[in-house]
Amino acid sequence: MDETNIQYNIMEKFRAFFSENKAVLLAGDSPYVEQLKTQAFNHFSAHGFPHTRLEKWRNTDLSNMLKHDFNFPLKQTTFDVDLDEVFRCEVPDFNTRLIPQMNGWFMGTGEQLPNGVIICSLNEAISKYPDIIEKHFGRYADIKDANLTALNTAFFRDGVFIYVPDNVSIEQPMQMVDLVNSGKNIFIQVRNLIVMGKNSSLSLVQCDDSIDNNIGFNNTVTEVYLDENANLDHYKLQNKNNASALTNSAYFHLEKGANLSTNAISLNGGLIRNETQVRLNGQGSHADILGLYLMDHEQHVDNQVFVDHAVAHCTSNELFKGILDDHASGVFNGHILVRPDAQQTNAYQNNKNILISDKAVIDTKPFLEIYADDVKCSHGATVGQLDEDARFYLQSRGISRDNAQMLLMYAFAADIVNKISLTPLRNRIDDLVKKRLRGELSSCEQCVLHCNSKEQKISFEIDMSRI
């Protein structure tokens, strides 16, 4: 089957599915959301899935995933798993408020939190908070040129809604854990909306994990709004099985003085595509956009970052680092747009890669598009092997070639890991990176943060612990 046939087959399935289940898909939605869904369906129906003839998809081919026979779950189902067990996070001292999601559905109890903070299912929010929904939902995730976002908007069934009112600082980090588990091959559309009021602050960890070895296609869209001076510390942790695809689109909208740090850490996954869009819409807003990917075997990771400097006096800092081994492939596409009014912009973009094997591939494309004249922008991309001078230096002290390589790879990754400000999370990611580099971490382990080895001591030939 060639790409066109695959497209045709799956598109027919989606069209039939939409018309057969229209009543269920649109049930409970406000006229505003219903209209968005219909528009999105029409867009998706006309344009189909992204294909490799599109510039932004040139190096990421979905057709292998799309030829599978998928189920599209319409209802929330609980499977034969102990929810307390699968959602238990094993990170020591990582005291978070857990927001469980199964195949996209919100599994928590929509409890009332102090200070007017809301965490609930998106469906509930659509009916209960129409004003907030109408003001924010679908306002940042533009479906134009984003067919997967259109697909998500047309077919999403549920997701998480978080609302932090003005002047509320939430001390305890929130942790969204989205597990894919169905007993069969599924294709799910997860939709999240996070709205942060003026001067509010939040740490949010989004974990995407597989807990079975079925083929799963998870197409998630998350919209995040940061009002004036809001502060968000955001992490995406991805550890999926090799048969899975995860397309994760996050849209951040920052008002005056807002501050965002988002860090995507991809440890395993058959196909991962992270689309991160940041709009700096108010003066003095700042975004750090970081990423780390460690891929091997036939894994594929694609990071697409678009930073839109819409107004003056904003800063953005982008750093993505990756290590690719075996036949793994990676894509980095960074695009900074500085609009005509965005004077005094300071934007930095860098992508650094290490290829361990000569079969590993990275396609990196930093891109600046500048229409203002008083700006400071820089970009860079490197692809290389490990530094031979550094390796010689380490070996000259008696450290074996393999361990010298390990130390250098670890050091390369530590640059990103050390920027994780939640200490227990940083320590665990640090451990996971060591395990990953040693080939001791595989995606069949239940979740990215679950080591399956809490009883057994991690044995490193070299001890890289902090002392």
Partner: protein, 249 residues
């Protein structure tokens, strides 16, 4: 301890060492002097095992074993230490992890268990005092953001931690002010013992006022052209390298 016979080495087809002979016995300090570009650093790199140099001929015997073809780390584990002229910055690898990994690999090579953490930390503290290093090394990446002087001190600090049988110090004095030079020399002198040896490579006689050598060799155009006692260094200081060059012509 070290015996170099008719060593010829080249880089990218260009011959740098053109037949070097050198004997170093335990307890001795040798100084190798000479103008820039005559092969001093190449000699140090070839002994340490840098693979960008091609050994064309000759042998380097250390404690009865031929080093040619031996991996870099194995040479270090046998007891060779190279103090780098240009120490490499390695962001992300802390000094503590670096030294702990190195010391434990060397112990493993010798059939010893890993050094207990407390003993290791004590040794770090002791050697930091010796080299008058005041910063907390646990949080500092190897040589990253170190000044020129700090980097050189750090080389001798590593030598003190690893306690090699043969240390080759490649222009350790370059870029040091007089105070740092005294600290470095004091460190090296403290580490001098009857059962180890040191080769000091330097362009200037100044360092040899503080680390007094037993033998001085002049390397010129890839060969050792003169050897003598410490007075040879003073003679060089007086007459300059032109004197050697003229003597060669």
């Amino acid at each position: 301890m070290l015996s170099i016979k008719n060593l010829r080495a080249s880089i990218e087809g260009k011959e740098i060492l053109k037949g070097v002979n050198l004997e170093v016995r335990a307890g001795e300090v040798h100084a190798i002097m000479g103008p820039n570009g005559t092969g001093k650093s190449t000699l140090a790199s070839v002994i340490a095992g840098r693979d960008i140099f091609e050994v064309e001929e000759g042998e380097v015997i250390f404690k009865g074993k031929n080093l040619i073809g031996m991996p870099v780390d194995e040479r270090a584990n046998e007891g060779i230490f190279l103090g780098f002229q240009y120490p490499v910055e390695i962001p992300g690898v802390s000094m503590t992890n670096f030294m702990r990994t190195a010391i434990n690999e060397q112990r493993k090579y010798r059939g010893l268990d890993s050094m207990p953490a407390q003993e290791f930390l004590n040794r770090m503290e002791e050697k930091k005092r010796l080299l008058e290093i005041h910063s907390k090394l646990a949080n500092r990446s190897v040589n990253e953001g170190f000044s020129g002087g700090e980097k050189k001190k750090n080389e001798i600090f590593q030598m003190a931690i690893l306690d090699p049988e043969l240390a080759i110090l490649d222009e350790t004095d370059s870029g040091l002010d007089i105070d740092a030079l005294k600290i470095v020399a004091h460190g090296v002198n403290t580490l001098r013992r009857p059962d180890n040896a040191i080769i000091v490579i330097t362009h200037y006689q100044r360092l040899l006022e503080y680390i007094v050598p037993d033998f001085v060799h002049v390397l010129f155009d890839g060969r050792i052209v003169r050897s003598g006692g410490k007075e040879l260094a003073f003679e060089l200081e007086d007459k300059g390298y032109e004197w050697i060059k003229e003597a060669q012509v």
